[in-house]
Each structure stands twice: as structure tokens, then as C-alpha cells.
Symmetry: C2
Subunit: 213 residues, 2 copies
């Protein structure tokens, strides 16, 4: 399992500093939607420089104008970009085509998607499908159960991420369902010592992987 750390709701200079500090402990660093909405994708280049070899995800939450937004995001330094599952299939397809063209990654955010909608958009084999509980709705109570349920319902989907209030306990439990990516935001960034907590997340995720082997 990969650890993705999301940075949100801080000034850009603070985000850059946090990313630089956390880069050695993350597989993916996320410029959260609040950073994108506050400063724009034109700020991504500076963040990519800060994270060096760690992958940078721009949580741009595209919902229309797929090709334009994805080109802008990749051009400015993102390795991964997000599109909403709630978009039209045409929009998702345009994002996917740009991702393939750039040889970069696309994550489909399944926030508020019905099973029917998911069924309509599972035809993108290289896409990462992100099970996501809204910040405005609170944390996911059982992320491991959510991933298991999703895998059972959509067995053709190979790449899964999960986000939404994940903590050390729920992260450890995820070994049973083994999503590709676990996304943690304020659970790390709002901690008194974010580096220490990021290390703890890596540790519980690795330990659980060993046990589940």
C-alpha cells in the first residue's frame, strides 16, 4: 500500500515547506483542492520542485473541460490529477486520454457516485478509483469494509485508493482489503509532529502488509 499525504488549507509557502519535510515519508504528496482553488495549478511547479522524486498529485477535481484542465495540471508539474466520477463519461474519457498521452496518472474521485454511476465509468483500466467520504460528511467509519464492498461490487477495478478521515487504527485495518493507495490528510498534517505521525502511518501499513502476506 502506498501512502498519499494531502496538504490542505494552509498558505502556499507553508504547504511547500510541509511537502519538503514530508516527501521522504510519502509515496505521493497531494496538493489538496483548497490549495488548487486558492492558488491555481500554476502553483504546482513550485511544489513539484519541493517534493523532488516523490510523486505530486494535484487534487483539481475536474468536472468539466477535461482536456484543458488535465493538460494544464500536467504541464505545471503534477504526476497525478483527479477527475470527479460525478462528471459526464465524456469528461472522464477526455481526462483519461490526456493522462495516457502524457504517460501520467489519473485518479477518479467517487465522491457522491451511486453504484449505477460507478458502473458507467469503470472502463478505464489505468485509472485509480478513489473511494472518498466528503469532508463535509465526516470520516469514513470503516474504510476497510468500504474497500472490500467496492471490490466485491466491481471486481474488474484493479486500482483503488481510499480517502476520508483515515487514522492510524483504520489505516492498519486496511491490510485486509489492501487498496493501492491510502490517503491521509489532517490525520498527519494537523498533528503536533507531522513527520513522526507520517512515520507511524508507514509503520502500521508496512507491519500489516507483512502480517497479511
Amino acid at each position: 500500500m502506498k501512502l498519499q499525504i494531502a496538504i490542505d488549507r494552509v498558505p502556499l509557502t507553508k504547504a511547500r515547506a510541509l511537502m519538503k519535510q514530508l516527501a521522504p515519508f510519502a509515496d505521493i504528496l497531494e496538493a489538496g483542492t483548497s490549495l488548487i482553488k486558492d492558488y491555481g495549478v500554476t502553483a504546482l511547479g513550485d511544489l513539484k520542485e519541493a517534493v523532488s522524486d516523490t510523486q505530486l498529485l494535484g487534487d483539481i477535481k475536474t468536472i468539466d473541460e477535461g482536456a484543458y484542465e488535465f493538460r494544464q495540471g500536467y504541464r505545471h508539474g503534477a504526476d497525478l490529477l483527479t477527475v470527479m466520477g460525478a462528471s459526464s463519461v465524456e469528461t472522464i474519457r477526455k481526462c483519461y486520454e490526456v493522462a495516457e498521452e502524457y504517460g501520467k496518472e489519473m485518479m477518479i474521485d467517487l465522491l457522491e457516485c451511486t453504484p449505477k454511476k460507478v458502473e458507467e465509468i469503470i472502463q478505464f483500466p489505468n485509472a485509480i478509483y478513489c473511494l472518498h467520504t466528503s469532508v463535509d460528511q465526516g470520516a469514513t467509519a470503516d474504510p476497510n469494509g468500504d474497500v472490500l464492498t467496492f471490490k466485491k461490487a466491481f471486481p474488474s477495478v484493479k486500482r483503488i485508493a481510499i480517502a476520508g478521515g483515515i487514522n492510524l487504527t483504520t489505516a492498519a485495518a486496511l491490510s485486509a482489503s489492501a487498496p493501492e493507495i491510502v490517503i491521509v490528510g489532517s490525520g498527519i498534517t494537523k498533528a503536533e509532529d507531522p513527520i513522526q505521525v507520517a512515520k507511524q502511518f508507514r509503520k502500521v501499513m508496512e507491519e500489516q502488509c507483512k502480517f497479511s502476506m
Copy 2:
């Protein structure tokens, strides 16, 4: 009917210049999603200065973190902000509360919303409900018919806007359904003489209003 002109996919300096030119001919000037995603809401203040007394809409397409995004948008100069109808009801409610608190306006973008979803989110009396055909899906063939159908299905909704490839012919036809706001983007901004075309839109919309009185 009010005319909202959307500015998209241009550098910020060009957007500012266009807005300054077009402000006398628009009721609302829209900083399109591409501008928000490229430059962030922190750029809105400069645009508000350019449009002076004309209202400025930031098409931020909030889909989560409603209170944070709406506060940021209003604080930086927007008079109106957008939230996706595809968001959770909790997110829309948070946006609405912030809009009411600031005494400003909220537009709910109904892109990809099913009638069932619309039914769940029509309880916000001061919100403007925007019928929106995706850029990635092409223009609305019959905007007037779309508004009439929507009014019949949701008679309690008093404030309606319409967007998606509207041209002079379809704008003129809208007098029959009389939405509060008609949103025109590239139909004006990509014209050889945007001011001239904006005047034409105003003219057909006003003429039709007279005829329909």
C-alpha cells in the same frame, strides 16, 4: 433576464482586460472555472476591481469543503459563487449558510444531476439553480425547452439560470421560459468583436422581453 458573460481559458491579464471592456454590457461577469483552476480565487480581487459595479461570479464549482471554499471566494471579491448540485446536501447547505451570512449569492450548478438529485437539493430559496450542459458534451440544443421542462418539474424553484453553448438565436427564444440569468461564454468572448456581440445579446434579450410582456 440578466446577461452573465463567462471568461475562460485566457491568461489572467487578458481576462481582466476583457472584463473591464465587457462590464458595461453585462449584469454579471464570470471568472470561469479555468481561470479559478489556473490562478486560484486569490486572483478574484483584481478582477472585481476591473468590473467595478458589475457583479462578479467565481465559478469555483465547489463539491466538498463548502464553508472553506465559499468563505475564500467571497473574501477575495466574488459576489456570486457556484457549488455543484452533484455535491452532498451537507456541502450545499454549508455553502448556502456562508452565502446568507455574507449577504451574497450562491448558484447551484446542475451539471450531471438526475431529477432525483435535484429533488433532494431544491430547498434553498435564495439559491440560483443553473441548468448546465457540459462543455465536453457540446451545446444545449433547446435551452428554452430545457427551462420550461425544469420549471414544470420543479415549480417551487424561483431562480433559474441556463448555460451551455447559448447563441443569439437560442438566447432570443429564451423569452418564453424567462430564466433569471442567461450565461454566455465563447459565444461572446471568442467573437471578433466581443463588445458588439455582447450588445447584440442584450438587444435580442430585451426585445424578446418586450414582446413577451
